[in-house]
Amino acid sequence: MSQPATLAWFARHELNLAWRDWLAMMTAGKRSRERKVAIVLIVLAAILHLLAYGMVAGFADAGAEPSKTALIAVTGTMLISFSMMLSQAMESVTRAFYARADLDLILSSPASARRVFALRIGAIALATTMMALLLAGPFINVLALKAGTHWLAAYGAVAAMGAIATTLALALTIALFRTIGPRRTRFIAQIIAAVVGAAFVIGIQAAAILSFGSLSRFAFFRSDAANTLAPALESILWWPARAAMGDAPLLLVILAAGLGLLLAAIAVFSMRFADHVTAAAGIAHTTRRQRAGAVAFRTVSPQRALRRKEWTLLRRDPWLVSQTLMQILYLLPPALLLWRNYGTQTSALFVLVPVLVMASGQLAGGLAWLAVSGEDAPDLVAGAPLQPGAIIRAKVEAVLGAIALVLAPLLIALTLAMPAMALVAAIGCACAAAAATTIQLWFRVQANRSYFRRRQTSSRAATFAEAFSSIAWAGTAALAAMGTWLAAIAGALALLTLFGAWLISPRSQP
């Protein structure tokens, strides 16, 4: 047995907690679900491998001397993955500083804060790599099976990317901490994480739209323009791609670089970990002043008071602002497509409809959870002289109002270009938002607003129902925009999803 407070002891403690946390998240805390979860994971892995098989066949023939096109595609895919890994790592590093959890206990003990920090950063690198591998694994396996085991080197390349992403995230967060202070860092780091995660995908999509009028990033990777702009085959810039494709010496180089950078970052930054955590802890006890002006209350109806309160809280929620910003960022490529094809290629605009509808459903789900389940003063609101139905109505109105505000600019622009399609998109957005909100109402629980990030853990069923519903409404709207009767079938499926959600929801139980 290892001695308490050693690195091995901390590692075992952290691993134990992480495993229990993951298991609780997957099974919603019910042991009876473990077997079902295992079956679902196996089925999911099989489906992902099948999908991967269909998608990567084109790269399977790329051997030890890959073509420029293959190198561009692999490098592009790695950059997209890296931007997402960097986003996740930034999010995790920020949480390591700000989430109190057991830090007060650990820092008040004689254990070395440096060891704790070293271990937690290592855990972030591992988690970041594992998340990327969950998505990349099926593709790598299929390529290894179809084109040769040299593709297994991609696992090592992903590990190196995870280490570099964590190092960069750590350096960025600490730089923010030192330049703008702990209070602003939390907000800005979340925004940067959201932007970084979306920026590269959006950039490539924007390039694809401007070059080919298509949202497909692969169209850009395979284009002559990309081929002309790309450096020569001997360039050092291809090293990561070559390493991923099985060049063993290069793989060793990038693995050594990644792990070396991570270890150096831990060695440099862990000295000040306790200082940063203490500074971050201080912000819980500081107050933020609002603009002090003449106090002028307005006579409003209780419903309006509720709506105003919800909007104020939504506006002041940094996590929500960053998430909404990310949703809006993902709407930028379709907006660009709309602008580019305005008045000319109307057929290209069909792609906008499902994107808008999907965004509406996803945003509504999050906002509805915050407004309905994440009410911080449930007794106050329940104790107000209002019928329960009126309270819920006001909250739903607040959610739908916020969605309308976010989507209105694009819908108005679409109306100017193609009124009929805008109408279909608007109806689809309304249906998706209403369905996601309804699902949140059926599955509502009493939770602290700060649990928003982990709202999925309270009900897997609600999460899946919300996602399937949004997809079904997006499909319905897309088909309706094309004018095919298949939209009716997709619509029926969307309604069936909603009915299924009601059947399994706690509200349907007597």
Binding site: A284, H285, Q290, A296, F297, T299, T312, P385
Partner: protein, 255 residues
Amino acid sequence: MTIPTKTTTPFALAIGGLSKRFDRPAVDSLDLTVRAGEFYTLLGPNGAGKTTTLRMVAGLLRPDAGSIAVFGIDALAEPVAAKRIMAWVPDEPMIYDRLTPYEYLEFVAGLWGTEAKRAQDQARDLIGWLGLEPHANERCGGFSKGMRQKVALAGALVHDPRLIILDEPLTGLDAGAARQVKDVLLERVRAGASVIMTTHILEVAERMAERIGVISGGRLIAHGTLEDLRQQAGTLGGSLEDIFLDLVAEEEAAA
């Protein structure tokens, strides 16, 4: 400050045969009355059913049986009408971290449909009385427990309730904050409001309450003035602490 008293009933609160069962009976055929303009304190050991009783009165829990009347209004049949004239302050302050005290009070006034000018004057007075002026435009997120409790109390009073229900409002407050809260409550009672409050601080009950109820095992085992309780407990000249401990021990022995 004026508290309208339109109804003719002498009782601010009349509870009859109130029962609520969770795994075991939490409140068991409870009868209790609070007179209009009275300061009433409810005492009891942990798990006695005090909070459950008050939550049912505030309309936050549905009783299994019994009746609740607030100034003659049947709170179970007409919950909205009853809620309009009462306020509930739980032991854990219900406030929003991202609103300032003024914004919070404006929200609560809006929820109760209070006329803006009246609510604004009330808010200004309450912020002043409770010593919250320096923090009135700061978000509540960084407030101490005492400050949060004062903001919650101001919220409860901003719509001029006729019946104020408080569950352990003084827990965790320092002496100064506790004094401010007690002063505001007594001032409200002088203005005509009725207060029912639970507390574990027996000295507070002894000093502030006109009548005291002792609840144990979900039932009211004794009630009245301090003198009445002394007689019921047979502890002549004893402190409220002695009386309370005797009554509860007697009840537990009988159970």
